[in-house]
């Protein structure tokens, strides 16, 4: 049962010594309550309190960093079964699979693809995350040489995949210092795999298909001292994937079984339905996803889905304020003003594009609030619009000085005219009607 901030505060020394990095014990207590701090940071905690706190404040799914450097990323730290309860914190990493039987060109194609593929959406850079090298050859030298080649080409997070510790070790020779992920420890090989994980500081994936047997294996590895574990429940069909992942996540967030409180691993190559398993993994709690072939259409859809699902529902994506073009606008093209809430932006953009009319969109910063909310909250103001207008130098871009504003912004139309000196036309409330509005503009019905 999760402890509340005040209950936690009662267990803390209350010295406000700031050694944990927070200005007061209360602040630290609040962070602990939301699973965003580590009780170990408090040097004055008595052992009893530490135990109570440890089990009930640590993030239900263990946080850990994957890889090092610029392209490294965090996983874990999750506390929900549904994103609408609070949010999903860390998006899964996509790893392209590379068999060690591959030739030079294949190796460089894959490595470069992971490094360079980029989809820019709503002001965010969406990328693939790493390379998963699989021992097909069953030969340590071959495996090692492929890892070496990858290392020479790129600096990306890696997963080394083989059940044979010798093969894994061969790979670690070349990338061990970058703390890759290794797959996998099983009931048969876990002592050696754990040794390797400890030696090289790797994240260790535990492979076990029977959920009831996972805790035992986890505890063995924890006993040996490996801190960062990832679970592979060996799923190869959508039904098992959905159900096992849900059960594991549920037991973790309700703290029913702390030994299931680790991130999940998914290899879509095991599935008949490749793209389906990828989408399912994104929706249902996978933290590391290995993908064997990724056609561009699937890649785009998956990156977009991942971006959406892992957006904090309470902090909607915001667009960068400024001027945006639709089609090839010129000096006479209409200008539509609206807010920087991404949903509003894309909705209006979509309808403007379908209308076939070239025009401009002037986006103002309402901190992601929708038109209605921004007007009600007093965030969409005449001064804000005027500043944005000036910054975009709009007066020199279009010869008419007319601005079309959303229907719900009608209450500020008068003030806007006064502040900007531009003519203000009030457009429709529903973006879907923007096409009809443009028609009536052109036919002279609306002036």
């Amino acid at each position: 049962m999760a402890l509340k901030a005040l209950d936690i505060y009662k267990l803390l020394p209350k010295k406000n010594c700031k050694e944990c990095g927070d200005p007061t014990c209360l602040t630290f207590a609040m962070k602990l309550a939301s699973g965003k701090a580590d009780p170990d940071k408090c040097p004055y905690l008595d052992p009893q309190a530490k135990e109570v706190l440890g089990s009930s404040t640590k993030p239900p799914v263990k946080p850990m960093r994957i890889g090092v450097g610029e392209r490294s990323f965090r996983i874990g730290e999750e506390s929900c079964l549904y994103r609408h309860e609070k949010t999903f914190y860390h998006a899964p990493g996509f790893f392209l699979a590379l068999k060690d039987s591959s030739g030079e060109s294949q190796i460089s194609t894959i490595a470069n693809r992971v490094e360079k593929d980029l989809l820019v959406r709503a002001g965010q850079d969406l990328r693939l995350n790493g390379v998963a090298i699989i021992s097909d050859s069953k030969n340590p030298e071959t495996f090692g040489s492929v890892v070496k080649k990858v290392e020479e080409l790129v600096s990306l997070p890696e997963i080394l995949i083989s059940n044979d510790p010798k093969i894994v070790e061969a790979g670690l020779t070349y990338c061990g210092s970058y703390h890759p992920v290794i797959h996998a420890a099983t009931r048969e090989n876990y002592p050696e795999m754990c040794r390797l994980a400890l030696k090289f500081g790797c994240r260790l994936i535990i492979s076990e298909g029977d959920i009831t047997k996972i805790p035992e294996l986890v505890n063995e590895c924890v006993k040996i001292g490996v801190p960062d574990l990832i679970l592979d429940p060996c799923v190869d069909n959508l039904s098992d994937c959905l159900k096992k992942f849900t059960v594991i996540r549920k037991k973790a967030v309700t703290r029913e079984d702390a030994s299931l409180g680790y991130p999940l691993y998914l290899d879509t190559g095991r599935f008949k339905d490749r793209s389906g398993s990828l989408y399912l993994g994104i929706l249902k709690y996978a933290s590391l996803i290995v993908i064997h072939d990724l056609p561009e259409p699937v890649e785009k859809a998956a990156l977009t889905l991942r971006q959406g699902i892992y957006t904090d529902p309470q902090r909607p994506i915001q667009m960068e304020p400024g001027l945006y073009k639709i089609g090839e606008p010129g000096k006479d093209s209409p200008v539509f003003m609206t807010v920087n809430f991404s949903l509003t932006f894309f909705t209006l953009q979509g309808y403007l594009e379908s209308s076939g009319v070239s025009c401009y969109m002037l986006i103002v910063d309402t901190e992601g609030l929708s038109v209605l909310t921004a007007v009600a909250a007093g965030k969409l103001t005449d001064t804000l619009v005027n500043e944005t207008l000036k910054k975009a130098d709009l007066a020199n871009i279009v010869s008419h000085h007319t601005l079309i504003i959303p229907g719900y912004a009608a209450p500020i139309s008068g003030k806007l005219e006064d502040e900007t000196g531009w003519k203000i036309l009030v457009g429709p409330r529903d973006a879907a009607e923007v096409g009809t509005f443009l028609e009536s503009l052109q036919s002279g019905e609306t002036k």
């Binding site: 609408h84 959905l242 008949k272 989408y279 529902p313």
Partner: protein, 313 residues
């Protein structure tokens, strides 16, 4: 139940029947029971989710992608419906009467003709989407309701300020209704209450919480569907109806439009598949798509997701 990793729920999603076979008073080859779940999606579903193929009676009003790739089929609405059933494996046909979008549309008897054609073109249960403009609602829905009398259609779409005519047609001719709200669980609830007040029984309402395409607000829709399913299982009778999901803008999104020609169609398929599959996982009981390839992908996925797992109760 707890050790199996699932939940204890106090209630379930209601059921709605769509389609009527001969013994049920219609001419459909089969009829479906939609909904009825007593757990989170695919954890022992009583009635499998269904896939609807979306077609329209005037292709000029839809994104060009379809016309470009299936020019002959999309010109004849009845052939299109037949293909959907015989070759592409759809469970339902959803017909958009896009011809009503024409300015000053008034050919209401024509609507009956179109529906009759489709009824003879396919034996699948039908979803009929009426008009786009409120002014002609009354006449359009009257004709839809009458034309489909006895067939237990699913009629679309009721909205908060536009529900009387579609509700009237449903009550008068015994059809079910799609109740659509703009991605807001409270508005979905309110609309159901308003529909009940006209006399619509709960077992004839299917919720559409509006689905944005991937990257265009899809995650809002996803969470709303999850929340509606959760509320139904927790005993909220005003939300215990099955859910339908369709992302109508999908084929026109920028990612599809601006793809290189060689991958454009495939991108459209993946966009549709990703959206529909995710909606199913969130809790939708009917998903609607326009591309034949998507239907195939979804069918396989549904069979897989519905197959028993060691984690089922």
């Amino acid at each position: 139940m707890a050790e199996k990793g699932t939940y204890e729920w106090s209630s379930r999603v209601g059921v709605v029947k769509i389609g009527a076979t001969k013994s049920e008073g219609g001419t459909r080859g089969k009829s479906y029971t939609i909904g009825g779940s007593s757990n989170i999606p695919f954890f022992s579903e009583k009635n499998p989710p269904r896939i609807a193929l979306e077609i329209c009676d005037d292709i000029a009003f839809w994104p060009g992608l379809l016309k470009d790739n299936l020019p002959d089929i999309t010109a004849d609405v009845s052939e299109w419906a037949k293909k959907g059933e015989m070759e592409w494996g759809a469970d339902l046909i959803r017909v958009y009467l896009t011809s009503t979008k024409k300015k000053h549309f008034s050919d209401f008897p024509g609507i009956k003709k179109v529906i009759d054609e489709i009824l003879s073109g396919t034996t699948l249960p039908l979803i009929i989407e009426g008009s786009d403009s409120p002014e002609i609602d009354s006449d359009v829905f009257l004709n839809c309701g009458e034309a489909g009398s006895g067939e237990r259609l699913l009629l679309g779409t009721a909205e908060a300020d536009r529900y009387r005519s579609v509700a009237a047609a449903a009550i008068a001719y015994n059809h079910a209704v799609i109740a659509q709200s703009p991605i807001d669980i409270n508005l979905a609830k309110q609309l159901n209450i308003l529909l009940r007040e006209t006399g619509m029984p709960d077992n004839s309402i299917i919720i559409d919480s509006y689905t944005g395409a991937l990257g265009y607000g899809f995650e809002y829709s996803y969470s709303t569907i999850e929340r509606i399913r959760y509320a139904a299982l927790k005993g909220d009778d005003d939300l215990a109806m099955p859910i339908i999901s369709s992302a109508p803008d999908t084929l026109g999104v920028r990612e599809v439009r601006e793809s290189p020609p060689e991958t454009k169609y495939e991108t459209a398929i993946q966009w549709e598949f990703g959206t529909a599959l995710s909606s199913l996982v969130a809790g939708a009981s009917i998903v609607c798509v326009r591309l034949p390839e998507t239907i195939k992908l979804l069918k396989t996925a549904i069979i897989d997701l519905s197959s028993p797992s060691v984690e089922d109760i």
